[in-house]
């Protein structure tokens, strides 16, 4: 009995000592971030280290794959106290997290000066129900990548300005045996497919959803976009592998010299020019995504946004500290130090320093101004899943594009009505 009592006392003593130690330690902030596209884990850790040094705070960062974030954030939100104080909020989750009140609005913290220096196209991505739910952090969007050597070999002197010109160039390449499938893309049944469809619909002069979040993709430009995608496959211009490609696989196709054209997120640029992994160094170039010739004069280019913001969980106990951290990592000072990603601040994008350090900045600035957003609707994952399924079915040529999009719109309307 005595031995038992001594054991209990020992455990209690250790617990008390640990508790005292903990209370004397720095405050801890828990953050979740993706180890995938965008700022890389080492960069994020560097930013956190500096914040720790400046504020005497300990920052724990959990790195996960993009696809795992949503589930982990929801689990954190359902818990009485948040597992993560700061999360990365993809613009497609804005409506969902806001309507479930999982994150806090930041309107009283984001000042007029901040708003003035961030383009409305970026800021609006995180506005839902009249409130701003995240501070813009990562300005990701798609750009056009082309192989200039293949274009020259096909008998052309410049990259295409329109989708129709691009098709002509691809047909010439195929006829001359320069490349078997000139187009590659990420058309597997994932979110990436919706992104491709969004910019293509934009390139034909439309949007996939209206301002009130109702589907419009089954009319004019949306149908033209899907018909264009199916046409590329039917004519043997797009690699059939596209249907199983994600963005990474599409990038591999391009940088291994197996494609002349593709669109992808900003991350492809650095890899395309890295001789360790790329076979198209000096041949691959980045430019503006072409639009349909019917749009020339109305729009020079079109793209899709993949913006990510930093948000504070509603059940976090350290909201003020979380804001300090969030404000720090999204600050112009930090973003100008990591120019491999597009800064969200207009003043940084247009600064002499940024233009000098990154010669593609003018292209990026033009492209980002032409982004189209995916819809801000609370059941977005379900809406996107339906759209992915029917677009993919049409790409497999099991349904006609118009019929597939009509069916998708019908099912999406049913989900939105609930």
């Amino acid at each position: 009995m005595r031995r038992y009592a001594l054991g209990v006392l020992f455990v209690l003593g250790v617990l008390i000592l640990c508790g005292t130690g903990a209370s004397a330690a720095k405050e801890t902030l828990n953050v979740i971030y993706m180890a995938q596209a965008g700022y890389q884990p080492d960069d994020i850790r560097d930013m956190a280290d500096l914040f720790e040094f400046l504020t005497d705070t300990k920052v724990n960062i959990t790195f996960v794959k993009y696809d795992e974030q949503h589930e982990k954030i929801v689990a954190s939100a359902v818990a009485p106290v948040a597992t993560y104080d700061v999360i990365l909020l993809d613009l497609i989750w804005t409506a969902e997290f806001a309507s479930r009140k999982m994150v806090v609005p930041l309107d009283d913290r984001i000042t007029a000066d901040i708003r003035k220096d961030i383009a409305p196209a970026i800021m609006d991505a995180f506005v839902y129900d009249g409130k701003t739910w995240a501070m813009p952090f990562l300005a990701n969007f798609q750009l056009f990548f082309y192989n200039m050597d293949m274009i020259r070999k096909a008998g052309f002197s410049a990259p295409p300005r329109t989708l129709e010109e691009m098709v002509d160039q691809m047909k010439a390449m195929k006829a001359k045996g320069i490349v078997k499938y000139p187009w590659t893309d990420s058309w597997n049944q994932k979110e990436g497919l919706v992104c491709e469809f969004v910019w293509l619909t934009g390139a034909f002069g439309g949007d996939t959803f209206d301002d009130r979040g109702r589907p419009t993709f089954n009319q004019g430009p949306g149908v033209q976009a899907l018909e264009f995608m199916v046409g590329l496959l039917k004519d043997g211009l797009a690699n059939p592998k596209c249907l199983t490609n994600d963005e990474d696989a599409a990038k591999d196709d391009f940088i291994s010299g197996n494609a002349a054209f593709t669109t992808n997120w900003t991350f492809q640029y650095a890899l395309m020019n890295d001789p360790k992994v790329s076979k198209v160094v000096g041949q691959g170039e980045m430019g503006l995504i072409p639009v349909s010739k019917s749009q020339i004069g109305k729009a020079e280019t079109a793209s899709v946004s993949g913006f990510q913001g930093a948000a504070i969980m509603a059940n976090s106990r350290k909201k003020d500290l979380a804001w300090q951290y969030l404000r720090f990592i999204t600050s112009p000072l930090v973003q100008r130090s990591y120019l491999q990603e597009m800064p969200v601040w207009t003043s940084v994008q247009t600064s002499a320093y940024a233009t000098m350090m990154d010669r593609t900045m003018p292209i990026k600035s033009k492209q980002i101004a032409a982004v189209h957003h995916r819809p801000k609707v609370p059941p977005y994952p379900e809406v996107s899943s339906i759209l992915q399924r029917y677009i993919h079915t049409a790409l497999q040529m099991k349904m006609e594009p118009k019929a597939a999009l009509d069916k998708a719109a019908e099912e999406i309307n049913a989900v939105l009505k609930k």
């Binding site: 939100a77 009140k101 999982m102 049944q189 899943s385």
Partner: protein, 316 residues
């Protein structure tokens, strides 16, 4: 009297020793099961700090059985995956076990290395086959085809494609399309079978050890050949083992999730993938729970059929 008292003490001791296990099982198995069933009777959605629940009776169940356009196609494709995988695993497993049961030099070594695929974690197995089937020129299978000169150097096959096999063949093509069979699904069956067949081999091998050699000797004297020995001695005496394999593998195959999700994400919606999508991606916890119980019912039904078939046969 004294022994009766000691018996009582023994019972009390047994109860006390078992109590912690019973409480643990209640907490980690029974209670979550009850909670999941309650969840399946609600429209349950996550909100900050908890789950918002609204009772809806059995409508989550009826939604899948009568309204959802995804449930029955996913059942069909799961049944195809389960049946074809099981058949391949059984034929290969029994065949390999018969070979490993024979006496030949290096038998112990072969028995040991055959377990390597089974020892691999499913995630590793899935990623490995994803690279083997990769449609780019970096795909190992495409590389092999080129080395063997089956494919020209410029050709890369899309192994995980969505074309239906035998699509042009009347009746069969239409039936396979209705089942939701694709080239990718068949490729994943190969990948899954590669990993799990060693387990079947191991179990069948254990069963083979229990069959007395005298039966085969007597059959040989009677002039029975390999096929008659197999059908009249080996397979009937393997029935208990085969029942275990069938029940175990049917359960695992019917609720398959990991290998299909890792390689194809949501492109092949077996019921496991659909459940994850509904529950964890769309955040309809109630519907996800209902779907889990429907899968459990399917598996229970299949297990009951197996048991009835095998045991009633044994009783005759």
């Amino acid at each position: 009297m004294a022994s009766y008292g000691r018996e009582l003490d023994d019972h009390r001791l047994a109860r006390r020793l078992l109590a912690p296990s019973a409480i643990l099982i209640m907490l980690v198995v029974i209670a979550p099961l009850i909670f999941a069933f309650i969840l399946s009777l609600h429209q349950a959605e996550p909100m900050v700090g908890g789950i918002e629940m609204k009772p809806v009776g059995f409508s989550n169940y009826s939604y899948f059985l009568t309204q959802s356009g995804l449930f029955w196609p996913s059942v069909r494709v799961t049944i195809y995956f389960t049946v074809v995988s099981l058949l391949i695993e059984l034929v290969l497993g029994i065949g390999m076990a018969l070979v490993l049961d024979a006496d030949f030099p290096g038998r112990s070594f072969m028995r040991a290395i055959i377990l390597i695929p089974w020892a691999l974690p499913t995630v590793v197995n899935a990623r490995m086959w994803e690279w083997i089937f990769s449609g780019s020129k970096y795909g190992a299978l495409n590389g092999l085809m080129k080395v063997l000169r089956i494919f020209p150097s410029s050709h890369d096959a899309v192994w995980l494609g969505f074309d239906a096999p035998l699509a042009g063949v009347p009746v069969i093509g239409g039936f396979l399309k209705w089942l939701g069979v694709t080239k990718a699904l068949n490729m994943i069956i190969i990948a899954d079978t590669w990993k799990v067949t060693p387990l079947v081999v191991l179990l069948v091998l254990a069963g083979l050890q229990t069959i007395p050699g005298s039966l085969y000797e007597a059959a040989t004297v009677d002039g029975a050949g390999f096929f008659r020995k197999l059908t009249l001695i080996t397979l009937p005496l393997l029935k208990p083992v085969l029942l275990v394999i069938l029940v175990l593998r049917t359960m695992e195959l019917f609720r398959v999730f990991d290998i299909i999700y890792i390689i194809m994400q949501y492109s092949i919606r077996v019921v496991g993938v659909l459940t994850y999508e509904v529950g964890m991606k769309f955040l309809h916890f109630g519907r996800g729970a209902a779907l889990s119980f429907l899968i459990a019912l399917f598996i229970l039904g299949l297990a009951a059929i197996y048991v009835r078939l095998f045991y009633s046969d044994a009783e005759r």
